[in-house]
Amino acid sequence: MTRLAEILEPLVQLTLVRFREFYREPESIFWVLIFPPLLAAGLGLAFRDVPPAALKVAAATPALADALRGEELLEVRMLPAADAETALRNGKVVLVAERRPDGGVLYRYDATNADAREARMMADRAVQRAGGQVDPIATSDQLVVEPGSRYIDFLVPGLVGMTLMTSAVWGVGYTIVDARRRHLLKRLVAAPMPRSTFLMSFLVYRLAMMVIEAGAILAFGVIAFGVPLRGSFAALCLSCMMTTLACTALGLLIAARARTTEAVTGLTNFIVMPMWIMSGVFFSAQRFPEWLQPAIKLLPLSASIDALRANMLEGAGAAQILPELAILAAWVVTCFLVALRIFRWR
């Protein structure tokens, strides 16, 4: 046997073990291959683009109601003043228009409700037009529904990042702790097995699984929803690879010392859940306060999803997503080295 084969053979065998444990577990195939596209399909349906709904308003007099009906995005009901008040209070309408004693119009609405403010503007315009106001400048609208700006376009890169992270962190953590619990880890280090090779086998395995996992979601997104892949394919692959390596290293770190599957489950949830929420998988991370943004940007899942979105939706190449890739690389190196150092082998 040559020197190279002596080094590679354990890595090959250990990686094969990872694969065999995966495909001999039928449930895992469901979670990895079927679940993410199902999730994307469900969310894609829920958030599909629908025309804006008409806003419900009430008018106190028939003349006022007719005036308001001139605006097609208002759904107008004629209600006596007392009923209109009740409808406004329980949210059945967002605005009530009444005739003032002096001949003017009174709008009653809640100014903190965006719908109500919009209804106020539309209602007033309808009232003014009915009163004879003429627009000085003619305008027209052209509605745009373009791939790349829909919710599903926002969602798919997020799902890719989330799936890569979840399967890496869970798969690695659970497998290692289970091996430790069974004394298999102790038996392996009693053999002349290079320890870093053992940890490396997880990185190799996860990289291979990444092709399947990310591929399944991307293929589904592109075929079913026409999600665009505007950036270079190489940069997309690089983003996925760095995500996988960072999250696998994170998984190794999480599993470095835990003795029970309960402990590793708790720890994984503790680390993964905040990232699901903060890293912008389902909604933009911009919703979090400004002072939190720098910290959020440093999370591995944020870096991953930012890079994927920039690549897929804005056509960014490797150069433009360099900061995100650098953050991921820092996670890979730090987690792997710390894990190797503090790893409990028995």
Partner: protein, 353 residues
């Protein structure tokens, strides 16, 4: 690399006449291999393992205290003792899996502090209660462990060695306890080790499986290799071990060849009497006075006498029992065993089996 592997043809030449082990066990033959040549750093050529003043505590519980052991090259050395005696801790320190608090461990002339990498290649290790991955097959598991080693039998030869050919492609999950232990043994032998550690290799196995395993261990020993095993089966130690050390409470309380230990009882035979349920109880002090009886011990309703010569003492003992009007329900006799030695030493049985 010169092959250390004698080929399968050897099997046809060496048909064994062994009632217990099927002759398939002979397929991998270590006889052509011989004891290991000496290597640099082996200043005590005949000692495979040397342990001095070893001490280990876990949270203030002393697991091993002031333990000294020397294991000679080419012998099978047994650590005997009840659960919690410190056997596993001792062995795992020798295997480099546990750090001792203090003391010195020299394995094959090397220490874990400076030669861990080399030592891993020269030791075969089977640890207690290893559960291999359930969904790997036997051959896949053996191939994995073989891949770590720079020399040794091929995976299929290892499987033949422990007679698991029938289960070659079966998942580990489907193996019986005995088959799992044999798989563990195959993995321990993957690197063709100079020194083999077996921690309770036959615990929980039926007698047939136990014999299978013994046969493989004996074959390995006949090739001049060294074995350290722990067990709480006295019969296993008698069958396999050249020397044993009996551990209790973290220390060795006796050591030597099984034959020497049993001989030290100065008893030609052990006589065990059981009084009938409705009989009067036996007055043991009067039995002690009988010529040729060196000790009398009562435990668990059994009276156990060590006697020099059975034919001389037995009639006298029976006469005495008749005089005491004792009715017997059972009378057994056997040559002294390690179990008898252990009972004489500690007043306890090691294990009911």
């Amino acid at each position: 690399m010169t092959s250390r592997i004698a080929h399968v043809e050897a099997a046809s030449q060496s048909r064994r006449v062994c009632p217990h082990a099927p002759d398939r066990a002979a397929e991998f033959d270590w006889r052509g291999i011989g004891p290991q040549e000496l290597r640099v750093g082996e200043d005590i050529p005949n000692i495979a393992l040397s342990v001095k003043s070893l001490r280990k505590t876990y949270n203030e519980v002393v697991a091993v205290k002031a333990l000294d052991v020397d294991v000679r090259k080419g012998e099978c050395f047994g650590l005997l003792g009840p659960n919690g005696a410190g056997k596993t801790t001792t062995v795992e320190i020798c295997e480099g899996l546990t750090e001792p608090d203090s003391g010195e461990v020299v394995v094959l002339g090397m220490t874990w502090a400076s030669d861990a990498g080399e030592l891993r290649h020269r030791l075969g290790v089977q640890i207690q209660e290893t559960q291999f991955a359930d969904k790997l097959s036997v051959i896949e598991t053996v191939r994995l462990f073989r891949s770590f080693c720079r020399k040794g039998p091929q995976p299929d030869e290892l499987i033949a060695l422990v007679q698991l050919e029938q289960k070659r492609n079966a998942w580990v999950r489907t193996l019986s306890g005995g088959q799992r232990q044999r798989l563990a043994l195959a993995c321990a032998l993957a690197g063709d080790p100079d020194l083999l550690f077996l921690d309770e290799p036959t615990t929980g196995l039926d007698p047939q499986s136990r014999r299978h395993l013994w046969e493989v261990v004996m074959q390995f020993k006949r090739a001049g290799r060294t074995i350290v095993l722990t067990t709480h089966y006295m019969s296993e130690a008698e069958e396999l071990c050249d020397r044993v050390a009996i551990m209790d409470g973290g220390a060795i309380i006796a050591s030597g060849a099984p034959r020497d230990l049993t001989a030290s009882l100065r008893a030609g035979h052990i006589l065990e009497l059981t009084a009938a349920r409705d009989s009067v109880s036996v007055d043991c002090t009067r039995l002690e006075g009988i010529a040729g009886v060196s000790s009398v011990r009562e435990d668990d309703g059994k009276i156990r006498l060590q006697v020099q010569e059975l034919h001389a003492s037995l009639p006298l003992v029976l006469d005495e029992l008749t005089r005491q009007r004792v009715a017997l329900s059972n009378l057994e006799t056997h040559s002294p065993t390690l179990e008898d030695f252990y009972v004489a030493l500690t007043g306890r049985h090691l294990r009911d089996d």
